[in-house]
């Protein structure tokens, strides 16, 4: 089991290093398969660890394994240690499993790209970093993983670095995440100072005795990091731009794993958040506002990936509501099902984009159902799961969160209403996307690419140009198989926890609870479960129906809201606001500093030194006249002076 955990962590790292060190000596395809194998090896390791942990008693499911002592001072010690408990295992399985499927998919998607090796090295690096994050047994190692996933995200968003939009998006993501990293680091400083340790157990114990302000500060710092990483308000603007990266990257990093790190953090640090209820409520509140805002903005998006990105933002909002209100197992459950159906949606979108040779504008699509029926089914399954239609996975997880909100007093009930509105919006934007892209008559662009594909398929055996995608039906098997697996998971993934009836998932996570038996703070009654589910499903169906009315007949693909349109299209002007508050002052400051400090003072001092040296040299050089007689005169005078001095001094 311990070996499994270490293999899980280190296999992707080994993969990344191998690909990097072997460089161009291996073919691009080999690099791709090295990466894929390393991630699946990680999955194997995590399964082994899972089986091992299952074999243990419920109370003994917290295993810490240390490699060595990383930092040791008399007062403070940090080990390089991994924590194997139900929470970390859940994340390990999701990250390596879904990650493996996505990396496999990438083999087909990225085929032909000249820099494939770099891509797969980065993907392996990312998987390693994310696993480090979730397996860390102390906050410091978690922070290392946290930073590394941010780095991997930056590298992968800006993968096509010739595109200035991609580079700008990568920078934006990194800078916004850096803000979260800073607040988290501050929280860790306080925690270290007050409790003397960053080890989970010890700092949780120590936190119990801290003052309310201190705990609030720590929790707030942690929340800052979570909000940045999970793209919640107000640090959400980087996520839609991150869609500049390749689609598998969007699926892996910006849907299934990295953006869920914030939720993981809240659940992992739940003892601290529980000591700071105002911050927990803030987390839930931010989640609720985000889920509404993202849902509204998703309605007017015309890029297929951006709709799904805003959907991710919205669903993570749900997870934040759950985690903020103390329904940790529901939040984690939704994290898991969301990983399945969101990755499914992204990969399905990737199949469409791949077929249309890079086109992502839904206004130019249409009728894909007749061209790619299997992709349509996959996308349909993903959409139904996302909206939360039973018996697909999203239904069980999302409604669990809603029921918990309903059971959490006045504030929770308010969030419940917001969450319900969110389900309506979810149904609307998701099925708008489905109908616009897949239904109706094939658009001119679709027809064009389908004919090209059929022509290619015809001459498949004759002469196949290297690197050009050959469309076997809907895509190579490396792309269709992962989609199939994810579709199955999206359907069945929710069946491991049925609210009110059986709770193996919740029971599994109970082991990580700090100081109590059950991990969840709130247990909804059966009535509340049913009410929440009924309302959520009903509203979801209403959303689907409205989408059908407006978009089923494909009269238009973007809604028109009088007066509201501008605000939505500008994503509530957050980008403009941040531009005004942060970017412009920073630019003014740097320009001013450059004019006032850099050029005159720093540049001036250096060039002043050189000018001064040159002038002095010039002046002193005047002594060297070349005249023998003047030299002789100087010598003579010097001697005379010396004689006078010696004689007078005696």
């Amino acid at each position: 089991m311990i070996a499994g955990a270490w293999i899980c962590l280190l296999a992707p790292l080994a993969g990344a290093l191998t690909i990097t060190l072997l460089g161009t000596t291996i073919s691009r395809n080999t690099a791709a398969w090295i990466s894929t194998t390393s991630v699946f090896a990680a999955f194997g390791g995590s399964v082994a660890a899972f089986i091992g942990l299952l074999g243990r008693e419920h109370e003994e499911r917290q295993v810490v394994t240390s490699a060595w002592t990383w930092l040791a001072t008399p007062n403070f010690k940090v080990d390089l240690s991994l924590l194997i408990d139900p929470l970390s295992l859940t994340m390990m399985l999701i990250v390596s499993g879904v990650g493996g499927l996505i990396v496999l998919y990438s083999i087909g998607y990225m085929d032909g790209d000249p820099e494939e090796r770099r891509y797969f090295a980065y993907m392996s690096l990312f998987v390693f970093s994310m696993l480090m994050l979730v397996q860390a047994a102390n906050f410091l190692l978690l922070l290392v993983g946290w930073g590394l996933v941010g780095l991997a995200s930056y590298l992968l968003i800006g993968f096509w670095h010739e595109r200035p939009e991609a580079v700008a998006a990568a920078k934006k993501a990194f800078v916004m995440n850096a803000f979260g990293d800073a607040t988290m680091a501050l929280a860790f400083f306080v925690l270290m100072w007050q409790t003397g340790s960053l080890n989970f157990e010890i700092s949780f114990e120590g936190a119990q005795t801290l003052s309310q302000t201190t705990v609030n500060l720590v929790a707030l710092g942690l929340l800052g990091g979570a909000v940045a990483k999970s793209a919640q308000l107000p640090l959400h603007t980087w996520l839609p731009d991150a869609m500049e990266g390749p689609t598998p990257v969007s699926a892996l990093i910006h849907a299934a794993t990295m953006v869920t790190a914030g939720v993981y953090l809240i659940v992992r640090a739940h003892p601290i958040f529980e000591l700071a209820p105002s911050i927990s409520n803030l987390a839930a509140g931010l989640g609720a506002i985000t889920l509404l805002l993202a849902g509204l903005v998703a309605l007017v998006q015309t890029d297929i990936k951006r709709v799904i990105a805003y959907s991710t933002m919205s669903q993570i909002g749900y997870m934040f509501v759950g985690a903020g209100l103390g329904a940790y197992s529901s939040a984690m459950f939704h994290l898991m099902t969301h990983a399945f159906f969101k990755a499914l949606l992204f990969l399905g979108a990737g199949l469409v984009i791949h077929h249309l040779a890079g086109e992502q504008d839904i206004r130019r699509m249409g009728g894909m159902k007749t061209v790619m029926p299997k992709t349509y089914i996959a996308f349909l399954i993903g959409s139904l799961a996302l909206v939360g239609i039973p018996p697909l996975s999203g239904f069980f997880s999302k409604d669990a969160i809603l029921a918990s909100a309903l059971a959490s007093g006045g504030y929770g009930q308010f969030l419940f209403i917001l969450g319900l509105i969110g389900t309506l919006l979810t149904g609307l934007y998701t099925f708008r996307l489905l109908f616009v892209v897949f239904l109706g008559e094939p658009s001119p662009l679709v027809r064009e690419h389908t004919q090209a594909a059929q022509a290619h398929a015809g001459e498949e055996d004759a002469s196949r140009p290297h690197g050009e995608p050959v469309h076997h039906g809907e895509g190579p098997s490396t792309m269709t198989w992962p989609v199939g697996v994810l579709a199955v998971l999206a359907v069945a993934g929710g069946w491991i926890q049925i609210a009110g009836l059986w709770h193996p998932f919740g029971h599994w996570l109970d082991s990580i609870a700090f100081g109590r038996d059950h991990i969840d703070l709130v247990e909804p009654t059966v009535t509340q479960d049913y009410v929440a589910s009924a309302l959520a499903v009903a509203l979801g169906l209403v959303g689907i129906y409205v989408a059908w009315v407006f978009y089923g007949a494909r009269k238009r693909s973007v809604p028109r809201f009088e007066g509201f349109q501008e605000i939505l299209e500008h994503k509530f002007y957050f980008d403009e606001l941040y531009d005004l508050i942060f970017y412009k002052p920073a630019v003014l400051l740097t320009r001013g500093l450059r004019r006032g400090v850099e050029e005159p003072v720093i540049g001036g001092s250096i060039s002043g030194v050189t000018a001064g040296a040159r002038e002095t040299a010039g002046a002193v050089g005047g002594v060297q006249t070349g005249y023998l007689r003047s030299y002789a005169l100087v010598i003579a005078l010097g001697v005379a002076v010396l004689v006078v001095v010696f004689v007078s001094v005696q």
Partner: protein, 102 residues
Amino acid sequence: MQGPDVSWYLIVAALLFSIGTAGVLLRRSPLIVLLSLEIMLNAANLALISFARMHGDHTGQVFALAVMAVAASEVVVGLGLIVAIARRRLDLDVDRLRVLRG
């Protein structure tokens, strides 16, 4: 001891030295400058020997011999330079020979 007082010899040496210095500073021909330099050196020799006589210590005379050897070598080099310059048909004028300046 016969002859004038040692101090007279020193006065002569001083005079010779000044004449030599004047020659070095004021004459334009390198040959004459060398000559004047020789006069200075001889003045120094005279001073050395006078002091040797005054103190009864023969170290001064020995040193004067050394000075003569140095003077001889230096003249060789100097004359060699002057001959080389003359061979190149340059002006033997100290004020015009300025190329080796900083």
